[in-house]
């Protein structure tokens, strides 16, 4: 607002934003998305019920109309209450393991027990770009929260571990 330099900077950055979308789209295509649509572990899971888009209906048919969401179907199945730990699945950079909580026959929580932690060799490149911003060391918080934000949880390993946890929860 105060000067044209600011405006020019914003414009430049906006351009960067867009390029990112394109890159991100590719990343989606190449990484998370495609294996999720028809994960082998789910297709072969005999207990995972019917096909995608029919939801709250009892849906225990076994005809699989190809292409519809296996994942949607999985969660409309009725589960036994309890807590179920999935298998350890190998993600690209490490292991993924989830724990599923079921209450009232429905999934109430999906928690990670293991999580990949990549880039052990990467180095922090010191940047002088933002000297006016504050910094702090990371510090664990103990407060109760309603939810957690984090990078996208989609991955084939996640689906595998989840699938094994849910197969234990089948009523």
């Amino acid at each position: 607002m105060s000067n044209t330099g600011m405006f020019a900077k914003k414009t430049l950055l906006a351009v960067g934003v867009v390029i990112t979308f394109v890159v991100y789209s590719f990343a989606l295509r190449n990484q998370g998305h495609s294996p999720i649509i028809a994960p082998a572990s789910l297709k072969n899971n005999p207990s995972s019920g019917s096909t995608g888009s029919n939801t709250a209906t009892t849906g225990s048919t076994n005809n699989s109309s190809s292409g519809s969401s296996n994942m949607g179907m999985m969660s409309s199945t009725k589960y036994k209450d309890g807590s179920y730990t999935g298998s350890v699945a190998n993600a690209y950079y490490g292991n993924v393991q989830v724990q599923v909580s079921v209450s009232g026959g429905k999934i109430t929580n999906v928690q990670f027990l293991q999580y990949p932690n990549d880039n052990p060799n990467s180095q922090y490149i010191n940047s002088q770009a933002t000297p006016y911003l504050k910094q702090e060391a990371l510090q664990a918080q103990s407060a109760q929260v309603n939810g957690v934000t984090g990078a996208t949880l989609t991955s084939q390993a996640f689906v595998q571990s989840l699938s094994s946890a849910l197969s234990q929860a089948q009523a």
Partner: protein
């Protein structure tokens, strides 16, 4: 009432407080996400986007598809053509659809009179109103170095919160200006914005700017950010602290 379903391969969670027919509201919301998956998945041969890519005439496109493709087209114009959903002569609007879908679902909830809710898809969050304790919703930022830890708690009531990072998929987002250098110096970037659609777009974009992304968020009106780098140090925007619980 709180419930999670797995849709599009990610957990979608909706918690509703103080609304009579929350069962139906939750069911409709999950149905909506399934319909989005069905319409926009380029991996489903029968999705609308796949059929469009296989020559479905424009007159037969749904209104919703037109809206989304218009948003893509508008963004393309606003950015001198850098944002282009056309690759190899096929359309793929997925870079825009996730945040947009969460925002749409949130709008549906508001319209039916749900005042207090927490809606999350794969770590991206839209809140509204108050939580079950009658307070602002509390959202933790996950420690990218230790999944069991939350390293910040922020309070929101209506904003969208999105986090970009490489740590769960093990994927790298590249700086388009330096495409040969993977971004490794920052671990995650959380953005609070006026709604999840905007927060998600800008979190993704700013992450690709690596260390400079947090400055980019700082310069945007109505956005705050919290960046975690490889030194386990967080850098945050000048207005971020007012959201800290």
């Amino acid at each position: 009432m709180k419930q999670t379903e797995i849709i599009m391969g990610m957990p979608v969670t909706l918690e509703i407080v103080g609304y009579e027919d929350s069962d139906a509201a939750i069911r409709d919301t999950f149905d909506y996400f399934k319909s989005v998956d069905k319409r926009y998945s380029t991996y489903k041969p029968d999705s609308e986007i796949s059929r469009i890519n296989n020559g479905l005439p424009r007159e037969e496109w749904s209104d919703e598809m037109r809206t989304v493709l218009d948003l893509c087209e508008r963004t393309k114009h606003e950015t001198d053509g850098y944002f282009d959903i056309r690759h190899n002569d096929k359309l793929d609007p997925s870079g825009l659809v996730k945040g947009w879908a969460i925002e749409q679902a949130a709008e549906h909830l508001r319209k039916r009179g749900v005042k207090n809710f927490y809606l999350e898809a794969g770590g991206d969050i839209q809140t509204n109103g108050k939580n079950a304790d009658g307070e602002a919703w509390k959202v933790g930022i996950r420690n990218p170095f230790d999944i069991h830890e939350i390293i910040k708690v922020i309070t929101t009531s209506g904003e969208g919160i999105a986090t970009s990072g490489t740590y769960i998929r093990g994927q790298h987002i590249y700086d388009p200006h330096v495409p040969n250098l993977p971004i490794e110096s920052i671990k995650s970037l959380t953005v609070i914005g006026p709604n999840i659609y905007e927060a998600d777009r800008f979190a993704t974009a700013a992450f690709a700017m690596s260390e400079d992304g947090i400055g980019f968020i700082d310069a945007l009106d109505g956005f705050e950010g919290y960046m975690i780098d490889d030194n386990k140090t967080a850098t945050f925007t000048r207005g971020f602290e007012r959201y800290v619980a």
